[in-house]
């Protein structure tokens, strides 16, 4: 097993945002910016001759296609599978054995699995780098990195910004990881959620330990004028043990364009997508909407990571 340390990423795994220091995150974001500015011709040969294993044990649209597009545009090739219906997995092959096999076929593994800790397990089995594309409710580090990249790109900095997070703060892994990552940058955080979906105590404790100032709110409109970033999330029906509980909070926060009239000029609305009804489509046309650009930012961030762990950047 290898941990990320220093700034030489060659051969390293990217499993959890918690493994990355501020310096390492900044380094990755700088490389993403560099790669985004490269012309298509220079990009197209960066990973020539390299093969990426795309091991998606559970379905994913955005992450899988974003990684595949990132790799293809850098001149690399892809093998793998996109559901647990593939032959060996159906036969009950372990994560350990699958990673051992693809270790011999490819140069880098990108993996998503519904079981938490699966990517770290794969990284122990494989000597080639493993990038976690999501392990259950645990980690999705490339999502957090593209969120940070989007914040930096739209605001020119991350340090000291005021970031509001709204919706399902209890089960949403993206907001958990983002809150912890933002603690490296001394951001002021606002958590907007009903009581049943508030930010878990263990995250709040961690933020307090790191000296981060945050507050909890029920009313979305009271934080809109304060924020530089408003991060909306979907309330996920599948997370609720009881449908009646879901009904109580479903549709509780719907951001509409008229709610943004007191927003700061620079304020940007983010969302990990897919959205259901938490951002009305009339927000798409405002200068505040940045969620589609956010999804597109997954490409340079994932390209930077692939190049870094393969020693090509």
């Amino acid at each position: 097993m290898r941990e990320i340390g220093g700034l030489d990423f060659k051969g390293k795994d990217v499993i959890s945002i918690n493994d990355l220091s501020r310096q390492e995150i900044d380094f990755i974001l700088d490389k993403a910016e560099f790669i985004e500015k490269l012309d298509d011709g220079s990009k197209s040969t960066l990973l020539k001759g390299k093969i990426m294993a795309s091991l998606f044990f559970e379905p994913s649209t955005r992450t899988k296609d974003s990684f595949n597009s990132a790799m293809t545009r850098l001149g690399g090739t892809i093998i793998g599978f996109d559901s647990d219906k593939s032959t060996s997995i159906k036969k009950g092959e372990t994560v350990w054995d699958t990673a051992k096999m693809y270790n011999t076929y490819t140069d880098v593994i990108v993996m998503r699995h519904r079981v938490e800790g699966a990517a770290r397990r794969a990284a122990e089995a494989a000597s080639i780098p493993v990038i976690n594309g999501g392990d259950g409710a645990n980690q999705h580090p490339t999502q957090t990195l593209l969120d940070l990249y989007t914040i930096k790109k739209t605001q020119g900095r991350i340090e000291g910004l005021k970031v509001a997070m709204c919706g399902d703060l209890k089960y949403g892994r993206t907001v958990h990881s983002l809150a912890v990552a933002l603690s490296h940058y001394g951001c002021r955080l606002y958590f907007v959620a009903p009581k049943s979906l508030k930010m878990p105590n263990y995250i709040q404790k961690e933020l307090t330990k790191r000296g981060i100032v945050f507050s909890e709110h029920y009313n979305l409109e009271e934080v809109i004028p304060l924020a530089d970033i408003l991060y909306m999330t979907r309330i996920q029906k599948e997370r609720f043990p009881d449908e009646a509980e879901y009904e109580k909070v479903s549709g509780i926060y719907i951001l509409k364009s008229n709610m943004l009239k007191h927003a700061k000029e620079n304020m940007k609305v983010m969302h990990p997508l897919p959205r259901v009804d938490e951002i009305s489509t009339d927000v798409d046309e405002t200068r505040h909407a940045v969620y589609f650009e956010q999804a597109a930012n997954g490409i340079p961030v994932r390209q930077a990571l692939l190049c870094l762990v393969l020693g090509r950047l």
Partner: protein, 154 residues
């Protein structure tokens, strides 16, 4: 007076005395050591004794028993204040406090049913986190943190 009563447990010739166990934790210690089910010699348990240091404590004496590193680690989770006395021929030959290691391998079962350690044949890895007097354990794989009462010692 009650405070002056000496406490006595069955004297052992060879074995160990585990002293300064937090009160009502002795049975848990006996269970994780497996001597409640499989041990040929005497095991005596004293619970809720008066203690100058701790107020109340439990004590266990186990005859003809040595402790492995894994067993010491297990005791350190349940009874972080425990003292181990090693007895040979009725004489105390070694005495030390248990020490919580910085990493626990294969000692604790993860309480998260969706953790990879519950799905594949592998050893768990946990990191103890001390939060004032509360001990929490963080899983290396699923990264969740549990109160020690919520995890099962293997």
């Amino acid at each position: 007076m009650a405070e002056d009563r000496p406490y006595k447990l069955y004297k052992i010739v060879n074995g160990i005395v585990i002293d300064h166990i937090p009160r009502f934790q002795a049975l848990k210690v006996i269970r994780v050591l497996g001597v409640d089910k499989d041990h040929d010699s005497i095991v005596s348990i004293g619970t809720n004794f008066s203690s100058g240091k701790m107020g109340n404590k439990d004590v266990i004496k186990i005859e003809n028993k040595q402790l492995t590193d894994d067993e010491l680690n297990k005791i350190s989770i349940i009874a972080p204040t425990a003292t181990i006395n090693w007895i040979e021929k009725e004489t105390l030959v070694k005495k030390h406090k248990v020490e919580l290691p910085s990493i626990l391998k294969g000692i604790v079962k993860c309480a998260n049913p969706n953790c990879i350690t519950r799905h594949e044949d592998m050893k768990t890895i946990f990191y103890p986190i001390r939060d004032n007097d509360v001990l929490r354990l963080r899983c290396h794989y699923c990264e969740r943190t549990f109160d020690k009462e919520d995890v099962e010692i293997i």
